[in-house]
Amino acid sequence: MPTRSVKSPSVDSEVTTMTTPEKAPSRTVRPTAGLGSAATSVSAPGEPVMDLSDVSVFYGDFEAVRGVSLPIRHNQITAMIGPSGCGKSTVLRSLNRMNDLVAGARVSGSITYHGQDIYAPNVDPIQVRRHIGMVFQKANPFPKSIYDNVAYGPRLNGVKRRAELDDIVEEALTGAALWDEVKDKMKTSGLALSGGQQQRLCIARAIAVKPEVILMDEPCSALDPIATSKVEELMFRLAEDYTIVIVTHNMQQAARVSHYTAFFTAEVDDAGVRHGRLVEFDDTEKIFTNPAEQRTEDYITGRFG
């Protein structure tokens, strides 16, 4: 992996920004304004940006996932694979507090971002999501122009100057490998694009706010193979600047794009209740060639799931 890093101010300022939601101007402190400013990253590639420790996610009384511990490493792609109902998407959504939007959802254990517990009472989930972005299974551009789709996030961050927005939009679309295809139709509706283009537009929209981590929830499952390979290429390039966590049903995809793989499965406990469990987390190469667990091997060789 290349080790170029053009991210983020210091860890300290990031965590401060997050934990002081009452200070409204802190929003504009985000490095959005500093696109292109060559602040050096404090995390070396491979160092954990996020850390999950004994994480369980509940919906009401139902414990959907039990006891997950794994690191999310800086500027690496971490894949979460496993059969349906194993809780991998649930874990993904707990990483930027999207689960907060589900009534009755609750997380136990700790999920830290640069050492800060993102579920601590003084943390503002809105700030968390500005640092940890998300791309969804189904491309979901807003019914607005391509330009306005990408500019949406920066505008939330208080960027108003047209020239500055223009730069951010171009950089984000270039980063999402979409600029050349759409530069002449910025005013066209995002919904007029093809499925693969829409998904790359959503990626552009996510990176326009310069998050540090991008969560991807089966981003290619609705795309054809050509569009899929474009998005996969894009993920490689994005990993130079971003930390990526991807949930995928496609094992080949996990093997192709990721550096680390977490294999989840569903287990039935003594009370007869199904929970998602993390079976194994390791280098992708190890998981796919020489997994430690028999269940992992069964799954990736197609004997189960």
Partner: protein, 331 residues
């Protein structure tokens, strides 16, 4: 592997050309619903034709003055005058005012119910709002004339005193003599159309894809930013539709307006002046009218009908344009 089906079980190939059992029923049902559709068009055409026919003598008598004339003197012995512009004005002012008040309130209620209200509060709140739609309009009118009008008069006077020296506002919020005014009519109409606009807006907001809301939240949007960025763009067409239905209702509302609008024939920029509306005039004068006068009252109805159609059509054009702009040429 051979599928275990004998020749006896299998229908003969010739079967495909013989009619099946459901076919007659299908035709009956198809014909019935086709007929129902045509019936609506037929009734509409019949209403339009018969009323226009009845109104024709008045139209011929007044010509374009029927719409552009300001003098309404049906009992003028030499030459009765049927200029309805004042009533057109009254209808337009009172219903637009109603819309101006009702749309923001309704959208607010609908947003509260779909995005903010705790689950336990939603059902009772919706029930209460729907109940509001079931209150007979004469009750609204009586509340308006007995409660609102007297109570509002000091308020009108206070507002007038406040802005009396401001150029435009001074005449829009002019002197108030009594509480039966355009403003009172607008307020009453607003209360009457809030339930319908709310209930449609609520349904429109419910159709906003969860994916869009999540996309906004995932970009770090607050709830209001999410509503602005994801809910409103998706709902624009539906909200225009809801407002137009409300406007249609307000324009056609008769008895409540009759009671509170004051019944004077004048075009005044002053919202605190009395006026009259098209529907109210018909209700007030129908009993004592005869001959050409009756014909003219029916003519007012025809014009009102035409106005509602026009408003609805323009709304459709607006909605269509907005949809094309937002969803792209492919949609």
């Amino acid at each position: 592997m051979e599928f275990p089906l004998t020749q006896l079980d299998r229908a003969p190939a010739s079967d495909v050309t013989t009619p099946g059992r459901g076919r007659t029923l299908d035709r009956v049902f198809g014909g019935a619903s086709y007929g129902a559709g045509l019936l609506v068009l037929g009734v509409l055409a019949l209403i339009l034709l018969s009323t226009t026919w009845e109104a024709l003598p008045a139209f011929q008598h007044s010509g374009f003055d029927f719409i552009f004339g300001q003098r309404w003197a049906p009992n003028n012995p030499d030459l009765p005058l049927f200029g309805t512009l004042t009533f057109l004005y009254g209808t337009a002012v009172s219903s637009l005012l109603a819309l101006l008040i009702a749309v923001p309130v309704s959208i607010g209620i609908a947003l509260f119910l779909t995005e903010l209200a705790p689950r336990w509060l939603r059902v009772p709140a919706v029930t209460v709002i729907d109940l509001l739609a079931a209150v007979p309009s004469v009750v609204f009118g009586l509340v308006g004339i007995l409660v609102i009008a007297p109570a509002a008069l000091p308020l009108y006077q206070w507002i007038h005193d406040l802005v009396v020296n401001v150029p435009v506002l001074g005449s829009v919020f002019g002197p108030a003599v009594n509480g039966n005014t355009f403003a009172t009519a607008g307020v009453i109409l607003a209360v009457m159309v809030i339930p319908i606009i709310t209930s449609i807006s609520r349904e429109v907001f419910d159709t906003v894809p969860v994916a869009d809301k999540q996309a906004a939240y995932a970009l770090g949007a607050t709830r209001w930013e999410m509503i602005k960025g994801a809910v409103f763009p998706h709902s624009f067409a539906g909200l225009v539709g809801a407002a137009m239905l409300g406007l249609g209702r307000a324009m056609g509302e008769t008895i409540a307006v009759t009671l509170v609008i004051g019944g004077s024939t004048q075009i005044a920029a002053n919202l605190f002046a009395s006026g009259n509306s098209m529907a109210a005039v018909i209700a007030q004068q129908w009993g004592e009218a005869s001959g050409l006068h009756t014909s003219a009252l029916i003519g007012i109805g025809v014009v009102l009908f035409a106005m509602t159609v026009l408003v609805n059509y323009s709304a459709r054009v607006i909605v269509r344009r907005a949809e094309i702009r937002m969803k792209g040429a492919t949609a």
